[in-house]
Amino acid sequence: MTASLSLVVVNAGVSDPSSTKLLADRASARVRALGQARGREITTTTIDLRDVLPELPAALASQHFGERFTRAIAALVDADGIIAAAPVYKAGVSGLFTSFFQVLDNDLLIGKPTVLAATAGTARHALVVDEEMRSLFAYLRTLTVPTSLFAATEDWRDKALMGRIDRAALELVLLMESGFAKAVRDESWQHYPHEFGSAGGTQTGIDLESDLMRLATGGSTRTNKPGHPEGAP
């Protein structure tokens, strides 16, 4: 058996039981089972955003992360795949869900395979997952799987939902196996803008050859004008 893969489930459902958590759990169970069948152990970490809720104001207002936030970020740093599940409220993704992802470093999730999942009380919210969540994750540069999951109340008695879960789970497992995120990190990470200490504190390389570093050490970023080579009087 090859090395195990790490799946992180981010659940923004706040009730207990929560249909959002139920959807996320179904998907993650399917991912694990598919992994098993393909000879790949997949370990799961669940981040229930309700638990980080008390730390959210500080994170939003002053980028001050408490212990639970720090643990959640650490789990995402190591994630090989993500299932991100949110309830839809008032025709929009739950504020808790968007807030959580908005305070993360821009480069924390680059290239990570992700299943998007949403639940709602009515099928009229069906496009929220593709129109709102997908664009948020496009900004975060995740590798979002083609099949989104959406479950309104009536979907829970429809076999088609399980079919979509299967599809999304398989897509996720294939992408997780591909090692895409790691290859991006290894080979083209420097082509993405990073702040020092970003990517959950793992971005600590310092490029001493950049234009700004030249400027920091007394050099110039000014481009020479034609006819005036640098240093000419």
């Binding site: 939003l60 002053s62 700004l212 920091a216």
Partner: protein
């Protein structure tokens, strides 16, 4: 090791009395606070720079010159001087003047400023903040070291044959700290020039601060200014000291809860646990402050934020009594014991003069008679080499 206080110059409503001080009151109070800092045995007083209400400190050198005139030992400094929106030429002139008037009892800390609207007020663009800061310091550095500067950059109008007056006291430039908490380029610049590096130490994660401080130390050594242990590091910090832990917490809580800097987010207890803030008894504040040295290594300057969030002046003066009378003497003793013999002393004008001249007399520049410009001919000072001529930059 130097200990002092830093103020951001906020004029904040006192949440207990409900009263917001007038600008006049707050300015008078800050002078009293600075004078008190010397009285209780602290070494340094730092003031911030802001250009919008509710702050008053738009003109740090004026305040600091006044404070210097009222004190005898205190080093006056900034936290920070805006290296982005100020013209580096004006910084060179104003701080050299302060250096003369204070008899060398000054230095300054440079920062970028993160208040976006301030940049356009001074014709700058915050998106260019970092290159602007780096370039401006490169110029400032030369203005204090070369009598006549020809210069051309990306942001400021070029200089031809410019002499910044007065020349620094004893022809020794003021010591410069570069303040930064997240920018490796600033740490690199501090290291390149052998200047000090200051981390505000208000927010953590401390691992993050430590990485940058370690990077600065390593680069300081790389550029040949001394060993990594000899690099000049300053740290901020925040403390509220009570006779007992409970008293401190009860007194400070209303101010903490209202303080804009905390963003009405974490509780005081959470914040105390995960940041350098200490709210507690004398011993608790001492213990927490000692962890800074354990984490970041020997350092040269510790500045505490003690006067913000609407705290009334009487309370701040009481805090200074406790800080200077009970906390700092213990910290001095403890840190002296722990200090690596290799670690540098905190820089002062006297130590910089000694480093430059040894025992010799410092240079005292006397200008030549006015000839209307410095562009043609030699240096405008009598002791300089008449053969060295200034030249026009290519424009």
């Amino acid at each position: 090791m130097q200990f002092g206080i830093m103020s951001v110059s906020d004029i904040t409503r006192d949440p207990i009395s409900g009263v917001t001080p007038t600008e006049a009151e707050r300015i008078a109070n800050i002078v009293a606070i600075a004078v008190k800092a010397e009285e209780v045995g602290l070494d340094a007083f730092a003031i911030g720079e802001h250009h919008n209400p509710p702050f008053f400190s738009s003109s740090p050198t004026t305040l600091l010159a006044h404070v210097a005139a009222l004190t005898e030992r205190l080093i006056v400094t900034t936290s920070t001087t805006l290296i982005t929106t100020n013209d580096p030429v004006r910084i060179a002139e104003e701080y050299a003047m302060l250096q003369h008037l204070s008899g060398g009892r000054m230095d300054l800390m440079l920062g970028r400023g993160n208040t976006a609207p301030v940049y356009p007020w001074f014709g700058q663009d915050i998106r260019q903040g970092l290159p602007l800061a780096l370039e401006n310091y490169n110029l400032l550095h030369r203005l204090w070291r070369e009598d006549v500067v020809d210069w051309e950059g990306s942001f400021r109008t070029p200089l031809q044959g410019f002499t910044s007056v007065p020349r620094p006291l004893d022809d020794v430039p003021p010591f410069v700290w570069h303040g930064s908490i997240r920018t490796p380029e600033i740490a690199e610049q501090a290291a390149f020039y052998g200047n000090g590096y200051f981390a505000n130490n208000i927010f953590w994660p401390k691992d993050h601060y430590k990485r940058l401080i370690d990077f600065y130390r390593q680069r300081f050594e790389h550029y040949g200014h001394g060993t990594a242990k000899q690099a000049i590091v300053g740290l901020g910090g925040q403390a509220f000291i009570g006779k007992t832990s409970q008293e401190a917490k009860a007194q400070f809580r209303p101010y903490f809860d209202e303080a804009p800097v905390y963003g009405h987010g974490p509780t005081m207890e959470e914040f105390s646990q995960t940041t350098p803030l200490s709210v507690g008894s004398v011993q608790e504040v001492i213990d927490k402050t000692l962890t800074f040295q354990e984490t970041f290594g020997d350092y040269q300057r510790q500045l505490f934020l003690v006067d913000h969030a609407g705290m009334p002046v009487g309370m701040v003066l009481d805090q200074l009594e406790l800080l200077g009378g009970e906390v700092v003497p213990v910290l001095r003793r403890e840190l002296d014991k722990r200090r690596d013999p290799e670690a540098a002393e905190a820089p002062t004008h006297a130590s910089l003069v000694k480093a430059k001249y040894g025992g010799a007399e410092p240079r005292q520049p006397r200008p030549n008679a006015n000839r209307g410009d410095n562009v043609t001919g030699s240096s405008p000072y009598q002791d300089s080499d008449a053969e060295v001529t200034a030249s026009y930059p290519a424009l």
